[in-house]
């Protein structure tokens, strides 16, 4: 299969973005912590199916998502709870709730499976939306690689105010040393994925090229070809349009 690239796109894409996207796509195909490579690529397929899913469209229009019943337009062999999670996170993230999460977990989807599923989902959303923003075709999904997930759960992850367990800042040591980078304090949005440490690593790698490196983040004058105020304006607008309080 051809390596991911942006050769046919009418604008030049930065090398660091191309490299990060290639690594993310390679990782997508490999067995993860809780899902196999085939399941991870299945999650990616569900991300793309969600945008045109009839049930998701009806729910999006409904006063409450629970007012629309039916089945998702499924694109993989994933369990129904996983399909529900991917489709809702893609199409209606602003109305996710703790009872919705609790119901998913009650069906047997483990917290580890859920966090990794979110990690794969948001990676694909991010790279696909970047392509769409540029007018570039979506990258073909990779061929899954064989192998078993590691099923590694960090012993230091605890309940810490979110729906999912997280590793507190003070507990990053051993296999998780350096997980939160070099800054003395990291945000909850980074810690959110720490039940699956590899998803934090993925998140930080993409964030550094899509947005800013951690050092640049705390330097409020740092920008790219658009300045910091322009960067934060886009960030704030997307967050507001998606009804994200955080």
């Amino acid at each position: 299969m051809a390596e991911l690239g942006y050769d046919g796109v009418s604008v030049r894409v930065r090398d660091d973005l191309v490299d990060a996207h290639r690594r993310a796509w390679q990782r997508l195909a490999r067995p993860g912590t809780w899902w196999t490579g085939a399941e991870r690529v299945g999650i990616a397929a569900e991300v793309r199916a969600a945008w045109t899913c009839a049930l998701c469209a009806r729910r999006k229009e409904a006063l409450s998502p629970s007012h629309a019943d039916g089945e998702h337009d499924q694109a993989s062999a994933l369990p129904a709870a996983a399909v529900e999670a991917v489709h809702r996170v893609v199409t209606d993230p602003g109305r996710l709730s703790k009872p919705w999460f609790d119901e998913l977990i009650a069906t047997g989807l483990s917290e580890g499976h859920y966090v990794e599923l979110i990690g794969v989902t948001v990676t694909v959303v991010s790279i696909d939306r970047f392509c769409r923003g540029l007018g570039a075709p979506l990258h073909p999904l990779p061929e899954p690689q064989s192998g078993e997930p590691s099923r590694y759960r960090p012993a230091t992850a605890v309940s810490d105010g979110a729906w999912v367990p997280m590793i507190p800042q003070r507990n990053v040591s051993g296999a998780e040393a350096g997980l939160y980078g070099e800054l003395p304090r990291t945000g909850n949005v980074i810690r959110a994925m720490s039940l699956v440490p590899d998803e934090v690593r993925q998140l930080r790698a993409l964030g550094a090229v899509h947005y800013l490196s951690e050092r640049q983040m705390i330097d409020l004058t740092a920008g790219r070809t658009i300045d910091r105020a322009q960067i934060e304006l886009i960030a704030g607008r997307v967050s507001s349009r998606r009804e994200c309080f955080y």
Partner: protein
Amino acid sequence: MLLRASGEIAGTDLDVQAISDRGAADASGIAYADVLLAFADAVVDDDEEQLAAARARVRRELGDAQLVDAAAVASNFERMVRIADSTGIPLDPPMAVLSEELRGTLGLERFGSAANTPAQSTAERLLGPVARRTASGVLRLVGAARRLTGYA
């Protein structure tokens, strides 16, 4: 909040209202705000014609490299909002104190995910205005010092 902070350190007053009201773009103090807001909206919306027009406008008025950076930032936050909303994280405590006024200005408390952040204590509410004024003053001082020394 980082938008306001970036203005304070640059020594300029930015009107953050444009984040929730595109009509306020021209008064925001941010160069090409309307072009970038139209592009951010088009990335979020499902209308391909709207997106093509917004993309062409960024290329025409800012440039190709700026389009790449704008698309990268918009798609980054398509990721971040979903992480925050799907994991039920609360606002980080310092951010909760410092951003209270801003959340009111932008009407963020109406979003469902506001339920993930506990209500502020009386002490935090009392501390908030002082902390915000102090942080604003420090940022403006740091910015002024950097400009004086040519470090900015």
